[in-house]
C-alpha cells in the first residue's frame, strides 16, 4: 500500500525526456515580500520554440497563477517601487497595417489591479534594459540607435570599416544610448548628450535626479568588454561625472536602501574575477566588500541594513553569501541547493532559483527568520520517477601543489553493468565558470548509459579564488590540461573505471580542452569537441570577445615572435597531427564567439591523420543553438558518438 503511493524511481532517463524540463528563472520578489514573479519557460519541441510565461507565486500559500501567457521576446521583469505594477520587456504590439512595426523589444507595464499590459515605449531598434525611477513615474532605458548612415545602407552603399568586429559582422556596431520616458508613455528623452555609449547596467540615484551608468570607455569598440567605466549623469543638465576607478572595468550599479551604490569591478590583479564594491549615495568612496570572499561574483543585491547578498561559485556548489559593508562574509545556509538568480524584499526575504543534485531548478524562498530555504514550485516533479546517478565532489592536487576539484557522477544502480564502467569527461566552458553538484540533464542521460561522468574544474575555473584562477595565465590551455589529467588520475584511483573506455568532451573552452587533450594524450577512446578554440591566433583576429586572448595569454600575437609562439603553443591545432582519437567536431555556422573556421581547421588536420572524424555544422548564428530541436540534436550526436565507441 505504501509502496503504491510512493513508488521507487524506476525509469531510465533518455535524452528526449529532457524536453519535459521546465526552466524557472528571473525570480523577482515584490517589495513587501508577499509574492514572487518568475519566468517559466517550457519547450515546444514540435514548434521548436520555448514558451515563456510570467507566473506569480504567493510566498505564504505557494499558490501560483500565470500573469502573462506565452510572451514573445520576454526579457527583463521588474516590480515598480511600490509593487503595484510589473514592468517587463517583450516584443512590441505589431500594428496589423504595418507588419514591421515594433517587432523589437519594448517596455510594457502590467497593472496589478486589473487591466491588460500597456506598451510604454516605441523604440525603433528596441529596448535593451530599463530601470524604474524611484518615484515609479518614469523609466530609464537603454536602446541602440539606428545606424547614422541608415539611408545609405538602405541604398546598399553599406561598406563598413572593420576594427574590432567579429568575423560574422555585417555592419558597424551602432551606439547604445540612455533615455528616459514617463511610465505613462509619450515621448522619450535622451539622457546626456554627445557620443558616449552605454555598455552595461544603470540605476537611478535615490533622488531620481541622477543616474549611474555603465559606459564604454571613450573610443573603445563594444567588443572591448574590459573597457567599461561608471559615470554619474545629472538628468537636468546631462553633466557626466566619472566615478573613482578601482579597475579598468566597472559596471552594473545597484542602489541600496539608503541610496548607497554597489557595483561590479574586475579585480585588477586578475580581470577574470568580478568583485563588488560599495560606494556612497553619490557613487564616491568605493571600497571592495569581497576581499575576504575572494570569489567571482555573479550577482549582487542589497539586504535590509545595507549588507549585500552575493552569488558565487565556491568549490562544487553555487552559493549565496552575505557581505557587510566592512567586508565580513558569511555563507547563507542553503543545504545542498545550488543557487541561481535571486531577489530580496524590503524585509529581507530572499527569493531565488535553486537546483539540487537530483532536481532541476525551482523557486525557493528564504525568510529572514529562517535557516532553511523552502521550495515554492515543483515544475520538474517528473524527474522523481527517474533513477539518477549520484554526483559527488572529487578533490585532487595539481602538479604545482594547488588544490583542484571537480564532480563525478556515478551511473544509477539500474544502469550498472558487471565489471569496470566507461568514463566520459564533460568539461565546462568559460573558463570563468565551474562544474557543481547541481543537477545536469545531459550528465544524467550519459550516466544512465552506465557511464561515469567526470566534470573537472581546472585553472581558470572561478570556484577557488583568484590565485587559482589567474594561474592559467598565460598558459590558457596547457596548465588546465595538466589539471584535468591530474583530476582524471584521481578519479581512476577512486572509481571502478575501464581505463580503455574513456571519452572526453566539451563545448567552447571545454572544446578547447578536448581538442588539446586528444592532441597530447592517446588514452581516449572517443572525443566530442564543440565550438573549440583550436587556434588562438585566429581566435584573436575573429572573435567578438576582443579582450579575451590578451586577458588570458598576453599581448597581440603580432606584437613579437615570442607572443606569436606562445599563442601557437597554447593552440590545439599545433598538436592536431598527433590525434588518434575518433572525434566528433561540432560548431554553429555563424559562431561569432569561437569562430567557425577554427573547427574547419581542426577537422582537416585530424582527417589528414586518417583518424575517424566527423564534423557537423548547425546553420544558426551564435555560440550554441538556442532552440530545443537543435540543442537536442547536438546532445543526441554527442551521446551517439560515445555509445558507438564506449558501448552502452
Amino acid at each position: 500500500m505504501l509502496l503504491a503511493i510512493t513508488p521507487p524511481p524506476a525509469l531510465t532517463l533518455k535524452l528526449a525526456d529532457l524536453r519535459k524540463t521546465v526552466s524557472v528563472a528571473s525570480p523577482t520578489i515584490t517589495p513587501d515580500g508577499k509574492n514572487v514573479a518568475i519566468v517559466v519557460r517550457r519547450n515546444d519541441y514540435d514548434k521548436d520554440r520555448t514558451q515563456a510565461d510570467v507566473v506569480l507565486v504567493n510566498a505564504r500559500t505557494h499558490a501560483a497563477r500565470t500573469l502573462l501567457h506565452n510572451v514573445t521576446g520576454l526579457g527583463q521583469i521588474d516590480w515598480s517601487p511600490d509593487g503595484s505594477q510589473l514592468a517587463y520587456t517583450a516584443q512590441g504590439i505589431v500594428d496589423p497595417d504595418d507588419p514591421d512595426s515594433d517587432k523589437t523589444s519594448q517596455i510594457f507595464i502590467l497593472p496589478m489591479n486589473g487591466g491588460e499590459p500597456f506598451q510604454v515605449t516605441h523604440e525603433k531598434m528596441g529596448v535593451d534594459g530599463f530601470d524604474w525611477r524611484p518615484d515609479g513615474r518614469a523609466f530609464a532605458y537603454s536602446a541602440h540607435i539606428e545606424a547614422p548612415n541608415a539611408a545609405a545602407i538602405k541604398a546598399h552603399n553599406d561598406a563598413f570599416d572593420v576594427t574590432d568586429e567579429a568575423w560574422t559582422d555585417q555592419a558597424a556596431p551602432t551606439p547604445q544610448y540612455l533615455y528616459q520616458i514617463r511610465a505613462s508613455g509619450g515621448k522619450s528623452q535622451r539622457i546626456g548628450s554627445g557620443t558616449w555609449r552605454v555598455g552595461g547596467g544603470f540605476t537611478y540615484a535615490r533622488d531620481g535626479r541622477n543616474i549611474f551608468v555603465t559606459r564604454i570607455t571613450d573610443d573603445r569598440h563594444p567588443n572591448r568588454y574590459l573597457s567599461r567605466q561608471l559615470v554619474r549623469v545629472n538628468l537636468a543638465n546631462g553633466a557626466v561625472t566619472p566615478l573613482p576607478q578601482l579597475s579598468q572595468t566597472q559596471s552594473d550599479p545597484v542602489r541600496g536602501p539608503s541610496g548607497q551604490i554597489a557595483f561590479a569591478f574586475a579585480n585588477p590583479r586578475g580581470t577574470m574575477q568580478t568583485e563588488i564594491a560599495l560606494a556612497d549615495a553619490g557613487g564616491m568612496h568605493p571600497r571592495s566588500v569581497t576581499v575576504r570572499l575572494d570569489r567571482n561574483v555573479a550577482g549582487a543585491s542589497f539586504l535590509p541594513g545595507g549588507a549585500l547578498l552575493l552569488t558565487a561559485n565556491d568549490a562544487t556548489q553555487r552559493k549565496l553569501f552575505r557581505a557587510t559593508a566592512a567586508g565580513a562574509v558569511t555563507t547563507v545556509p542553503l543545504g545542498n541547493v545550488s543557487a541561481g538568480g535571486s531577489s530580496v524584499s524590503k524585509n529581507g526575504t530572499i527569493a531565488f532559483t535553486g537546483t539540487t543534485p537530483a532536481h532541476p531548478a525551482e523557486l525557493y524562498l528564504l525568510s529572514p527568520s529562517s535557516h532553511v530555504p523552502v521550495r515554492l514550485s515543483n515544475y520538474n516533479g517528473w524527474i522523481a520517477r527517474y533513477q539518477l546517478g549520484v554526483t559527488r565532489p572529487v578533490v585532487w592536487r595539481t602538479f604545482d601543489g594547488l588544490t583542484a576539484d571537480g564532480v563525478l557522477t556515478s551511473p544509477p544502480a539500474s544502469a550498472k553493468r558487471a565489471g569496470r564502467a566507461p568514463l566520459v569527461l564533460y568539461i565546462h566552458g568559460g573558463p570563468t565558470s565551474a562544474s557543481t553538484t547541481a543537477y545536469s540533464g545531459f550528465v544524467q542521460v550519459m550516466a544512465a548509459h552506465g557511464w561515469y561522468v567526470f566534470q573537472p574544474n581546472y585553472r581558470g575555473s572561478d570556484n577557488l579564488g583568484l590565485r587559482y584562477a589567474r594561474t592559467t595565465v598565460p598558459h590558457i590551455t596547457s596548465v588546465p590540461g595538466r589539471d584535468i589529467e591530474a583530476g582524471l588520475a584521481r578519479v581512476l584511483a577512486t572509481a571502478p573505471i575501464d581505463a580503455n573506455r574513456i571519452g572526453v568532451s566539451g563545448w567552447s573552452e571545454g572544446g578547447l580542452m578536448t581538442s588539446w587533450l586528444i592532441g597530447n594524450d592517446r588514452r581516449w577512446r572517443a572525443a566530442v569537441s564543440g565550438a573549440a578554440v583550436n587556434d588562438w591566433v585566429q581566435y584573436d583576429s575573429m572573435s567578438d570577445a576582443k579582450d579575451f586572448a590578451p586577458q588570458f595569454i598576453g599581448k597581440s600575437p603580432w606584437s613579437s615572435p615570442s607572443e606569436y609562439n606562445l599563442y601557437e603553443a597554447e593552440s590545439p591545432l599545433s598538436y592536431a597531427s598527433n590525434v588518434r582519437t575518433p572525434t566528433l567536431i561540432m560548431s554553429d555556422a555563424g559562431d561569432f564567439r569561437v569562430p567557425t573556421p577554427l573547427a574547419y581547421e581542426f577537422y582537416h588536420d585530424v582527417r589528414a591523420t586518417g583518424t575517424p572524424v566527423q564534423f557537423v555544422v548547425y546553420p544558426v548564428v551564435g555560440h550554441f543553438p538556442r532552440d530545443p530541436v537543435r540543442i537536442e540534436d547536438i546532445y543526441r550526436r554527442w551521446e551517439a558518438w560515445f555509445v558507438k565507441y564506449l558501448g552502452s
Binding site: A159, F160, D169, S556, S577, Y600, E601, Y618, D627
Partner: protein
C-alpha cells in the same frame, strides 16, 4: 558640299589629335551607363542574332537583362523580353521556330526554363523544379529539352523541423545546408510534366551543360562523385543512353566541357566527324592548370588529336565550326581565336611539332583592335557571332561571315562613350628570372604628356591562371583601370608566371612557388618600368583582387618602396585557403603538389603565405573583402588586418557586406572600386 566634308575631316582630325583638350574623362557615375552584351546566338536560318543585353538599374541596385534580336547587318534590333528577372542563356530550337531561355519567375527565386514561339506569342514556363534550372539543351528534333536541376533534399520534413545539421567534408566555411546532387531532366517543348532522367548520390557538375548526340540517342554530361563543389575537379564525361536509360563513363579520365562533332565535322585519323567528341584535358592532371583540347573517338574513346603540340595555350572555350574547331585562348596581352582542323595555314601555329593531319592557326581579324572572346557561337552556315573585345571601347556583338576575317560590328550599345577620352593601353615586356620574357598591359594616364613623370599603380590579376589583356573588358579593364588612368596614374597589369598567355612552361612556373615566383616577376616588372623614365618613382602603388590580392600582400612584405597598397580578397594564408575555401584542398594541392598536413607541407604553405612576411610591412594598406567570401575566406583579411594594425602599420579594412568573391550588384561593385581608387588618391595624389 566638298568644302563641308573637308572641314568635317579637319575637325575629326583635330579631335583625335588632342582628345584631352575636348573630351571628358570617365567617372564612376559615367560607368553606370555601360551596357554589357553577351551570349550571341545566330538563328538557324542565319539571318538574325539573339543576345543578352544587360544594363544597370542603379536605384534598384540590380543588373537588368533582356533578350535582343538583331539582323546580322546590325539593323532591326528589338527587345524580345520585357521586365523579366535574370534573363539569360538564349538557345534557338534547331528549326529556329522557338527560342528557349532561362529567367526567374519572381525576384529571389531560381531560374526556370522558358520557351518563346518566334511566330508570335508569349513565353511559356516549362519547368517548376524547386531548385530551378542550371543549364539546358534542345533535343535535336526540337520537341524536348534536357536540363540540369538540383535534387530537392530527401529530408525536407526534418529540415522544416530544424533538424538541419550539416555533415561537413570539403565544404566551404560558410556552409549552411547540405549540397544536393544535380541531375538530368527532360521536358517536352510543348510543356507538361518533366521527367527525371538520372538519379543517385553522384552529381552532374553544376553549371555544366548537357550535350545531345546529333541523333538524339544520347546525352553527354559531366559527372562528379558527389555534390560538393570542390570536387568538380574530379569530373569526367558520361553518356546517358536515352533508349536503355543507362549511364556509361566514356573513360576519358578527368576532363571537361564536352562538345560533340556532327556529320559536318571533318574526319580525323580515320574517325568520321559524327563520331568525334572534343573535351578539354588537363595537361597535368588538374583542371586548375593548363587544359588542352582533346578530340576523341566516341566509339572507343581513344584520343585522335591533342592540341598540346600545336596550340600551347590554356583552352578557355571552343566550338565546332563545320569541319574544324574554333578555340579561344589568351595570347600575350590579347584574347584570340585559333582555328583547329585540317588546315593549310601551318605558318600560323604557335609552337611545336604538329599532329599529323591537323594543325592550329591563329584567326586574324582585319581590325587589329578587335579581340575574340570565348563568348561565341557558330551558325549553321559557318558564320560566327561573338562578343568582340576592343582595346579602346567596351565589348559589342560582332558577326564574322563564313570564311571572312573581317568582323562586322552588330551592336553599338556604348556609343555614348565616344564623348569621353579613353586611356590608351599597350603591351609592355620585361625579363623574368625564368629566362623568358613576360608581358603585361601598360595603360597611360589620360592626360599623358610625353616627357613628364607620372605615378604608377600595379593592378595584378587573380586566378592565378588567367591573363590581363589590353581590352576594355572585365571589372578591372573596363572600370578600375580607366578610372585610375583618368586620375592620371600609369596602370600596369602584369602577366606574371602562372598566367595563361605564354604557354605551359610559363604557367607551370608558378607550381611550388605560388607567391614568391610571381612576386619576383612583379618586382622585376616594376624595375623595368622604372627604367623607362616615365614613372614618378616616389609614387608607386600596388593592388589586386584574389590572386592579385595575394600578390599585393606578398609584395608589401618584400619591398617598402610602395607608397600605398590595396589588397582585395587576398589569399594571405595558404593553409586557411586550403581548409576553408569552397575550392578547398584540391586547389592548393594543384599549386603546391602537397597538402599542409605534414611538417614539410605546412612549412611549404607558410613559405608561400604573405602572412608569414607581415612583420615586414610598412606600406599604408587598404584591405577589402566581401564579408561572406566563400572563395577566399574573409578570415584571411581579419588575420592580416590584425597583424598590421597591432604593429602600428597604417591600415584600413573595409568590408562589403555581400556573399561572394566580388560584389555582383552595381552599388556593391562601385563602392568596392571607389574604395580601391580612393586609397591611391589619398596616398599618391
Amino acid at each position: 558640299m566638298i568644302r563641308t566634308l573637308i572641314l568635317l575631316a579637319a575637325l575629326l582630325l583635330a579631335a583625335s589629335a588632342t582628345p584631352q583638350a575636348a573630351q571628358r574623362v570617365l567617372t564612376f557615375e559615367d560607368l553606370r551607363r555601360v551596357v554589357s552584351v553577351s551570349q550571341p546566338h545566330i538563328s538557324p536560318n542565319g539571318t538574325q542574332i539573339v543576345y543578352v543585353r544587360s544594363t544597370i538599374d542603379w536605384k534598384a541596385d540590380r543588373n537588368r537583362t533582356e533578350l535582343v534580336l538583331v539582323n546580322i547587318d546590325g539593323t532591326g534590333a528589338r527587345t524580345l523580353t520585357h521586365g523579366r528577372i535574370g534573363v539569360t542563356n538564349p538557345q534557338w530550337s534547331h528549326d529556329g521556330a522557338r527560342l528557349a531561355f532561362l529567367a526567374s519567375p519572381e525576384a529571389g527565386k531560381p531560374a526556370q526554363l522558358y520557351v518563346m514561339p518566334m511566330n508570335g506569342g508569349d513565353s511559356q514556363q516549362l519547368t517548376t523544379n524547386k531548385a530551378g534550372v542550371q543549364d539546358y539543351a534542345w533535343r535535336p528534333d526540337g520537341d524536348a529539352l534536357a536540363y540540369v536541376s538540383d535534387d530537392d533534399p530527401a529530408n525536407q520534413k526534418a529540415l522544416d523541423n530544424h533538424l538541419d545539421a550539416v555533415v561537413i567534408t570539403d565544404n566551404d566555411y560558410l556552409t549552411r545546408e547540405t549540397p544536393q546532387p544535380a541531375h538530368l531532366w527532360l521536358v517536352a517543348a510543348s510543356g507538361g510534366a518533366a521527367n527525371r532522367l538520372t538519379s543517385g548520390t553522384w552529381s552532374v557538375v553544376k553549371g555544366s551543360a548537357p550535350v545531345w548526340a546529333p541523333d538524339g540517342s544520347k546525352i553527354y554530361y559531366q559527372r562528379q562523385p558527389d555534390p560538393i563543389f570542390a570536387h568538380f575537379v574530379s569530373q569526367t564525361t558520361y553518356a546517358y543512353d536515352v533508349n536503355s536509360k543507362t549511364n556509361a563513363d566514356l573513360g576519358f579520365g578527368v576532363d571537361s566541357d564536352p562538345k560533340v562533332g556532327d556529320a559536318n565535322s571533318g574526319s580525323l585519323n580515320g574517325v568520321s566527324g559524327g563520331s568525334l567528341i572534343a573535351v578539354t584535358k588537363p595537361r597535368h592532371g588538374t583542371l586548375y592548370l593548363q587544359n588542352d583540347l582533346s578530340i576523341r573517338s566516341l566509339s572507343d574513346g581513344h584520343e585522335v588529336f591533342n592540341s598540346s603540340a600545336d596550340l600551347d595555350r590554356n583552352v578557355h572555350s571552343y566550338f565546332w565550326l563545320g569541319p574544324d574547331l574554333i578555340v579561344g585562348t589568351a595570347n600575350g596581352v590579347r584574347s584570340v581565336a585559333f582555328r583547329v582542323g585540317t588546315l593549310n595555314m601551318r605558318n600560323a601555329t604557335i609552337s611545336g611539332p604538329r599532329s599529323p593531319g591537323w594543325a592550329a592557326a591563329l584567326v586574324p581579324f582585319s581590325d587589329s583592335l578587335v579581340d575574340f572572346s570565348g563568348d561565341a557561337t557558330a551558325g549553321t552556315s559557318g558564320a560566327i557571332a561573338f562578343v568582340g573585345l576592343h582595346r579602346d571601347r567596351p565589348a559589342e556583338i560582332y558577326y564574322l561571315p563564313p570564311g571572312s576575317s573581317t568582323p562586322r560590328q552588330i551592336t553599338n550599345e556604348n556609343a555614348w562613350m565616344s564623348d569621353f577620352a579613353i586611356a590608351k593601353s599597350e603591351a609592355f615586356e620585361w625579363q623574368t628570372d625564368m629566362g623568358t620574357k613576360a608581358v603585361g598591359v601598360l595603360t597611360y594616364p589620360v592626360h599623358y604628356v610625353a616627357g613628364r613623370k607620372y605615378p604608377l599603380v600595379l593592378d595584378i590579376h587573380g586566378g592565378p591562371v588567367s591573363t590581363s589583356t589590353w581590352n576594355m573588358s572585365g571589372l578591372e579593364g573596363l572600370s578600375l583601370v580607366q578610372i585610375l588612368a583618368a586620375h592620371d596614374y600609369f596602370v600596369f597589369r602584369p602577366n606574371y608566371r602562372g598566367s595563361d598567355n605564354m604557354g605551359d612552361a610559363f604557367l607551370q612556373g608558378i607550381v611550388g612557388d605560388m607567391a614568391s615566383g610571381p612576386g619576383r616577376d612583379n618586382l622585376a616588372a616594376v624595375a623595368a618600368l622604372r627604367a623607362t623614365g616615365m614613372i614618378d618613382e616616389s609614387r608607386i602603388g600596388v593592388s589586386g583582387w584574389s590572386g592579385g590580392g595575394l600578390q599585393t600582400s606578398w609584395l608589401i612584405g618584400h619591398a617598402n618602396f610602395w607608397r600605398a597598397a590595396v589588397m582585395g580578397a587576398a589569399v594571405t594564408d595558404q593553409y586557411q585557403q586550403a581548409v576553408l575555401s569552397d575550392i578547398n584542398e584540391p586547389f592548393n594541392q594543384a599549386f603546391f603538389n602537397v597538402l599542409p598536413f605534414t611538417p614539410a607541407g605546412r612549412a611549404a604553405y607558410a613559405a608561400e603565405s604573405p602572412i608569414t612576411f607581415a612583420n615586414n610591412v610598412k606600406t599604408p594598406t587598404l584591405i577589402l573583402s566581401d564579408t561572406r567570401d566563400q572563395r577566399v575566406p574573409v578570415s584571411q583579411a581579419y588575420t592580416f588586418y590584425h597583424a598590421l594594425r597591432d604593429r602600428g602599420v597604417t591600415v584600413k579594412f573595409t568590408a562589403i557586406p555581400r556573399y561572394g568573391h566580388f560584389a555582383t550588384d552595381p552599388v556593391g561593385r562601385e563602392i568596392t572600386l571607389r574604395a580601391w581608387a580612393g586609397w591611391f588618391d589619398r596616398w599618391m595624389k
